[in-house]
């Protein structure tokens, strides 16, 4: 199985789906002639031309809405946000139009489109450019929200997203584009709503989403050295959410740590914390811990920004806490 980068996996998914379906097109800032701000679209413009790979002006609200219009009139747009920090300007289009069009029209107009781009902090970018904003989307009925961690998942989930009949928020990560992983040559799709057990274990469940998987894996390694067996549940899609896999794991381990790089309040992480506390109440031997970012805007200084975010140490410490191995 070839090892490819996350960037290539996302590229391949778009390329294959564009080749497969004439209606699929890509639009966003710098996606065409510049080959993508993070070089994700690569040569798609060279291959498919300006009709299907479209550079937009810097108008997030506008081009998100253009995508919605194209989607209700027969096309299947992929709208790239240079980062999801900028998509806040497009939220009205996403929440009030994309997520509600089917409903307001009594089922007449579905919106088959993907909004994708990096989410969450990169490095040295300060507070406007370093936000993990998935809670804003996970909150909204009418959307689907996907956050892959590995190249394999990214490709399979993005292909599913492009074929989905609904608006899908597909969240990548600047820091992960260069990350490598095995991706088969043959076509495959990964359905939404299926979490993936990335590591089996028996003592504690670690629920992760997106790139934090790798911190969780390192934490699990460290814990293993101390004799603690951690199971890692990688959510992959946040909406729909695969509650069953979570509960099954917690039924086995009786302890859970959730890892989310967003701020804590009204986050996906704390939501899942409540879900587990409610629906696996009798299985829990300790309260569910949440490892998330500090409840502050992201500072520019590198030591500070690292201190703000989840870390291997924080995850391992939380795991020990739910095991009552540490305070």
């Amino acid at each position: 199985m070839p090892e490819i980068t996350m960037r290539d996996a996302i590229y391949q998914a778009m390329d294959e789906e564009m080749a497969r379906d004439e209606r699929v097109f890509l639009m966003g800032e710098e996606v065409a002639e510049y080959h993508g701000a993070y070089k994700v679209s690569q040569d798609l413009w060279d291959k498919y031309g300006s009709r299907r790979v479209i550079d937009t002006p810097i108008t997030e609200e506008g081009f998100a809405g253009v995508g919605v219009g194209a989607a209700i009139a027969g096309l299947r747009p992929i709208v790239e946000f240079m980062t999801f920090n900028f998509a806040i300007q497009a939220l009205d289009q996403i929440i009030n139009n994309a997520a509600k069009m089917l409903h307001m029209s009594g089922g007449q107009l579905n919106v088959p489109m993907v909004f994708r781009g990096p989410n969450g902090p990169a490095e040295y970018l300060s507070s406007q450019h370093s936000q993990a904003l998935h809670a804003q989307y996970a909150h909204i009925p009418g959307l689907k929200v996907v956050m892959p961690a590995t190249p394999y998942d990214a490709k399979g989930l993005l292909k599913t997203a492009i074929r989905d009949e609904n608006p899908v928020i597909f969240m990548e990560a600047e820091m992960s584009y260069g990350l490598k992983g095995d991706v088969p040559r043959e076509e495959y799709l990964i359905p939404f709503g299926q979490a993936d057990i990335k590591r089996e274990g028996s003592d504690v469940t670690i629920v992760t989403m997106g790139k934090l998987l790798f911190l969780a894996q390192q934490a699990a390694e460290a814990l293993a050295k101390e004799g603690v067996s951690a199971e890692i549940v990688d959510l992959r899609s946040l909406r729909p959410l695969d509650e069953e896999t979570i509960y099954n794991s917690v039924a086995k381990t009786n302890r859970c740590v959730i890892v989310d790089e967003a701020w804590p309040v009204a986050s996906v992480g704390s939501h899942i914390g409540w879900l587990i506390s409610r629906n696996a109440f009798d299985d829990l031997d300790a309260p569910v811990e949440l490892v998330c970012s500090d409840d502050v805007p992201m500072p520019y200084n590198h030591r500070l920004e690292l201190a703000v975010q989840p870390s291997v140490e924080k995850i391992a410490r939380a795991a020990k806490k739910v095991l009552y191995l540490e305070a």
């Binding site: 002006p57 609200e61 506008g62 081009f63 809405g65 194209a70 029209s105 089922g107 007449q108």
Partner: protein
């Protein structure tokens, strides 16, 4: 007048009459609390939707507007029954009782709403235009919005994109003089909105929206150009709403005289008079037309009232496709 077929002119008149009577009835039903929430009536503005949409071929053309959408919905030929049922929140409504007054839709008739967020459908209409270009269909899109909406950022973003991508979208600012209680000149740097076309290097024009034939002609020209040359245009169509912004608005911000001056140029009266004068419409024809329209509206009420409420479980439907 002479250049048009009488049937065509009768059609325009009848559509305007239908809208007028439908809206009057909706207003009554609101008073009877059979309709609730916001209900934005189109009375006074009929010539705009009717004249503009008459230029279209809805097999390939599209229409989008804001929440003051009953007139446009009727002008594209939607069944009054399904509209009235929607206003009453019934399962037989065009939007299954999910959308209500602000969200009339008819995908088949290419009427893509009905949008409640001021200015938010302007990019969407632009995207419909993109789809036409992409699919190499020589259709056009009419995007209606108000004098209040033109200051929204979405307007600026959309018109620029429409021009750089050569999209066949006609942006129609229905300047009915007020955005809610605000006279448009109080919140606008320019008093002639067609000037804004200059920022996008596209044609811009002011049109008299109280005269259905002026609307028909001016929109028609823009449509033909858009169809042939794939170029957008901006039209400011000057009109007036006779009623308040929505049912709860007493409209104290304007004078009786101002209202009367527009009623004196009522689009229906004007066309009726012109037709009569030119001997193109007899008293009997007019009466028959009026009776037909009234019957259609009465039937829509009957239909709506007798329709079922949506099942409670249907609230979980139409969320995801």
């Amino acid at each position: 007048l002479g250049q048009y077929e009488p049937e065509f002119l009768h059609g325009l008149l009848k559509q305007m009459l239908l809208i007028r009577r439908f809206e009057e009835k909706a207003g009554q039903l609101y008073g009877l609390r059979k309709i609730g929430g916001f209900c934005h009536l189109y009375i006074g503005q009929e010539a705009v939707a009717v004249g503009a949409i008459a230029t279209l071929d809805l097999a390939k053309d599209y229409v989008l507007t804001a929440y003051r959408d009953h007139g446009h919905a009727l002008a594209v030929g939607m069944d009054p029954n399904s509209l009235m049922a929607e206003l009453l929140g019934k399962a037989t409504g065009c939007s299954r009782g999910k959308g209500g007054s602000m969200h009339m839709f008819d995908a088949e008739k290419h009427f893509l709403g009905g949008n409640g967020i001021v200015g938010a459908h302007i990019p969407v209409a632009t995207g419909v235009g993109l789809s036409l270009r992409y699919r190499e269909i020589d259709g056009v899109v009419l995007c209606f919005f108000g004098d209040g909406a033109i200051h929204q950022g979405s307007f600026h973003e959309s018109l620029n994109m429409a021009r750089i991508w050569d999209l066949p979208v006609i942006y129609i600012c229905e300047n009915n003089q007020y955005g809610m209680g605000t006279f448009y000149q109080r919140v606008s740097a320019v008093h002639d909105f067609s000037r804004m076309a200059g920022s996008y290097d596209i044609p811009g024009k002011q049109v008299n929206g109280m005269d259905v034939l002026s609307v028909y002609e001016e929109v028609g020209q823009a449509v033909e150009r858009a169809r042939a040359e794939h170029c957008p245009a901006l039209l400011e169509i000057r009109t007036y709403r006779y009623r308040g912004h929505s049912m709860s608005d007493p409209a104290k911000y304007r004078t009786r005289e101002e209202l009367d001056s527009y009623k004196a140029q009522d689009p229906i009266t004007i066309l009726q008079a012109a037709l009569a004068e030119a001997d193109l419409l007899s008293e009997e024809q007019l009466k028959a037309m009026d009776a037909e329209v009234k019957a259609a509206v009465a039937e829509s009420v009957e239909f709506a009232e007798q329709s079922d409420e949506p099942a409670l479980e249907s609230r979980f439907e139409d969320v995801l496709a």
